[in-house]
Each structure stands twice: as C-alpha cells, then as structure tokens.
Amino acid sequence: MDERRIKELAAEIRLETLRVIHSRGFGHVGGSMDLADVMAVLYGAVMEYDPKQPRWEDRDWLVMSKGHAGPVAYATFGLMGYYPKEEAYTLNQPHTKFPSHMDRKLTPGVDLTTGSLGQGASTAVGAALGNKIDGRKSRVYAILGDGELDEGEIWEAFHFAYAHKLDNLLFFVDKNGYQLDGPTDDILAHSDIAAKCAAFGLYTQEIDGHDVTAIYEAIQNAQSKKGVPSCIVLDTIKGKGATFAEPKREHSSQPKEEQWAEALAAAEQALETIRKA
C-alpha cells in the first residue's frame, strides 16, 4: 500500500464529505468523517470494483450498516469515478440519488440498502453467503457503528456468520464512543466490544481507526484467517476533521455558514499539508 497516497485519499474523502453535506447545510457529519481513513484504505488499496460497472459480479461489496454515514460513501464513490462527484451535492434534495441513508436502488456503488440499524449486518451475511455459494472470490466489508451494536440483530448476524464459517466477510466496528443521545457508555454501556466480538467467534483485532497502515495490515491479517469471519474494531474520533463537529463528537450537525467555511478551509489545508509532505 502506498501510505502517502492513501493518506491523501483520506484527506480528499474528508473534504469531499464536508462538501457533500454542506450542499444541504446539515447532516450526519460526525459518523461520516470518522470513516474517511477506512474508506480510503478499502477503496484505495484493498477492494476490487469497477466504477463503470457498479454491479460487476466479481466485485467486493461494501455494506454501510450504519446507513446514516451515506455522505462519506457518496464522497468516496464520487472520487473513485462512479459518477461526477458534484452529483452528490444534491444530498437529500427532492428526487436525489443521494439520500441521507444509503439506498441500493438509487446510488451507483451502494450494494445494500441500510438505515434501520442492525440490518446491514444480516444482509452482509447473506451477500457473503451468496458469493460463497457461487464460488466467487468477492469479499464483503460491513461497517457497523458502536451505538448500532445495541441492536440484537448484530449479534444474531455474528452468530450466523460464525456458524456458516463466512471467512469472506469482514465487519468493522466504528468505535467512536458516541451515539445520538451521548456517549455510548452513558446510553447503554458495552464493556469490551472487541472481547464480545471475539466471544462470538469472530477473529477480532482492535486498532487505531485513523492509522491507514494499521487498517491495511489488519485487513490483510484478517484475510489470511480461513474458516472464520473477522472483525476489526476501529478506535475513532467522531467528527474527525470537521472543526465544528469533532470537539463535541456531534451525531448530526447544522453549523452556521461561517463554521462551514472554517471547516472546509481546515479540510483543504489538511489535504494540502499531506500533498506537500
């Protein structure tokens, strides 16, 4: 993996994610921005896909189970050439192809519809199972939120994935420590998420979710394990890189225009800094 290029891509995704949400003025900034690094690694160095054939049979799949992180996916897909990235600046407008929660019927690149939390874990399992039946090498990457782990369905899906030995399936848990009403420890404390995932039979690693090299290596490590599904717990900072959202770990944000200007300038600066390094 070209670390410098992936870091640059992550910064591009952050800036583009802000632009997508800024087009509407408000949205799920926090849980989108913290995924820029994993999205950069997946789409820049790991996944097999063809932007010109989004439903190419042998592609790898992404299931954004935390469906409200649509903007970071729309930004990534735009940068990767699924569509002109400016198309996503219609976020949440009437008849848009870019709704707040991800919709496989509307957006090129979206493999499964998500939004009702917990459900993407199960559909990812189904997709992994279907690809296995057909003997395809396709892998399925599912991104779950830590708040989303409140849903019992997640654990049912883990159970099924373990029982059916789905080693073509990798779950990420975006452990940013916050959900809509506040800190996850305050809403419904999890104890040790990685230990719980491991107890369900998943080959589990926990890493810095903003370290692209660590993410890449953890994915390679996971893919070398045969006969078990994997899980990578990403320790992240909610709102990472959004100047108005990061300090408060906001779930959704509606900043003033001057705050948007500051955030966009900071994201542009961050990208420039990486490009000059």
Binding site: K105, T113, G118, S122, L129, G130, A157, H164
Partner: protein, 324 residues
C-alpha cells in the same frame, strides 16, 4: 388456469406442507438459483429434505427470524431466488422491519412462507396464531399475498413463486391435512380468482380463501337447498386482488360476503371492500375473526369460537341480501 373441483368435502390424507416441501425439492433440482432459509422449523414443514439434498443452498438460521430475513435479502442481492420460512407469526411480526426494509424497500424479492395460517395453529395457541400476518404483508408496497385453500393450490402457487422477481411475496398456509377442494394437477393464476359456482339467479357472492373456501362451498349447497342462489369465488390471491372479478360479482349479484381465516380488520374482506368502494359500492358482510386475539384449542373448536363455519357464512349471506 385449469381447475377441477372435487366437491366431496373430504380431508386430504396428505399434509399441506408436503405440497410446499416436495415441490420446492423438485424446483431446487431444476433451478440452482433457488435458496431456502428456515428458522429451526424445518421439521415442522418437512423441509429438512432440502437441507439434505441441497446443503449448499438450504440453510438453518436458527431461532433468529430478524437476522434470517436479512440474510434472505442479502442472498437475493447476489441473484438468488430465496424462500424464507417460519411460523406465520414469526415470519411476519418477528421480522417485519427486515422484510420491509432490507428486502422490499431495497427492491429485493424474498418469498416468505408463513405456516399455521390463522386458527390452524390450534394447539400452539394464541402466541402462535397468525391473524394479522396478511395485513402486515398487504401493507408493504409491491407485495404479493396469497392464502391457498389446499394441497393442489399450494403446489400450483409454489411452482409460480420463483417466476416472481419483483416485490416480496407472502404465502400463508396450513401445515396439516385440510379438506381437499381441488383435484391434483389443478393450476391457478396469481391475480385471478376462481369462480366455483355462478348462475344468472345469484343473489349474493361469497368471496372466500384458505380453509374458508370449503365452508363457502358447503354454504352454497345449504343455501341452494333453501332456494337461495349465490356465487362462490375462491380469492386465494389477496394481492394482487382480482378486482375485475370482484366488480363483476358486485354488479351481477349486488351483495358480497367475504370469508377468511384472519382478522377482518385488515384482510381479504378489507381489500375487497377497498376495491368495491372505488369501483362499485356494494353491501358487504365480513366472516372472519372479529378483531380478537387467538387462543389455544382444537381447530374445530376455534372455527366455532371465531365464527368461521358454514353456518356463519349462511347467516352472513341472508343478512347481506336483506340489506340490498
């Protein structure tokens, strides 16, 4: 459609579940895209054979219906034709959001099978008695909802389901043997009701489905003996409803009785009433469970208890004719 009615009101020695299990077994041999997902109830519907014959395509998801429904949707996204079974209570209420959002809203077809329709849940009691499953599936856009009467009809429907690749489908059926209405080999068309009796003298039409079809046929005999001619329609296809046939019956007979093994608040009677209100407002009586919960007991007791008998249909016909 090629239908032969037996007319003997005799119980089929075979269990209805075999119409599903044996037909699916055959279909899965022919079409490698067909998958089957169950929730620890394969033994109840004789589909363990599918897991034995097609271990790579027939799955146990365990007692976790929400996940199972999502897995079914994910399989469908990879191009599979997926059948998903649990008892009707659990394949509707227990996984409704997964079917609604992960499958239907997402544009993925899953063929949902709900066994132990209505009072046929009998000794499993009220907790296992689906009287609202049809309502839930009727309210999902682009869905298909079916309530077959017997073995032959369930077999004919099962053969057609893999050909439906738009929307989710829901088929509610009785596991055990039921009164055999149709000769084996009869074929039915989803979206087309079956006219079982009609004459120019018909004073009302009974539109029934499921185990109420035989009750309706017996009511026709009793009413004929009293000199009251009625039309009888088997409307196993709740959605798409055969609206042309309903309208024609309303125009020609002027009174409608619906009969269903389901809560009348939103089932066959409701979709017929909805159609009539738009196309031909007509007096209607509703035979079915009158907004009550299920309870435990033998099926015969439950059919008496909830007013699902021939006598209830006869009374409803007389009431509706009096209202004309």
């Amino acid at each position: 459609m090629d239908v032969k009615v037996i007319g003997k009101h005799e119980k089929d020695a075979r269990a209805c579940r075999d119409a599903l299990a044996l037909t699916l077994d055959e279909l899965m041999a022919q079409d490698k895209r067909i998958c089957y997902v169950d929730c620890d109830l394969m033994s109840c519907v004789n589909t363990k054979r599918l897991r034995e014959h097609y271990p790579e395509r027939a799955f146990e998801a365990g007692i976790a219906e929400g996940n199972a429904a999502g897995v079914a949707a994910g399989l469908a996204a990879t191009g599979k034709k997926v059948f998903f079974h649990s008892f009707g209570t659990f394949s509707s209420r227990r996984c409704y959001d997964q079917i609604y959002m992960s499958a239907a809203y997402a544009g993925l077809t899953v063929h949902v099978l709900g066994s132990d329709a209505g009072v046929s849940a009998a000794f499993n009691g009220g907790t296992h008695m689906p009287l609202e499953d049809g309502a839930m599936y009727l309210s999902i856009p682009e869905s298909t909802v079916l309530d077959p009467a017997d073995y032959a009809q369930l077999e004919s429907i099962t053969r057609q389901l893999p050909g439906i690749e738009h929307g989710v489908t829901y088929t509610r059926f009785v596991r055990k043997g039921v009164i055999q209405v149709y000769e084996d080999g009869s074929t039915f068309e989803i979206g087309k009701g079956v006219v079982l009796h009609e004459s120019a003298a018909d004073q009302a039409t009974v539109i029934a489905s499921g185990i109420l079809v035989d009750e309706a046929l017996k009511a026709w005999e009793a009413l004929a003996a009293e000199g009251i001619a009625v039309r009888v329609i088997d409307m196993f296809t709740w959605k798409p409803l055969d609206e042309d046939l309903v309208e024609k019956a309303a125009r020609e007979t002027g009174a409608i009785v619906t009969a269903e093994n389901h809560n009348v608040t939103c089932g066959l009677g409701s979709v017929v009433a909805n159609c009539l209100a738009r196309r031909c407002p007509t007096v209607q009586e509703f035979v079915g469970v009158q907004d009550r919960f299920g309870q435990v007991g033998p099926q015969d007791f439950l059919m008496d208890e909830y007013g699902l008998r021939t006598a209830d249909i006869i009374c409803a016909v007389k009431r509706v004719i009096a209202r004309k």
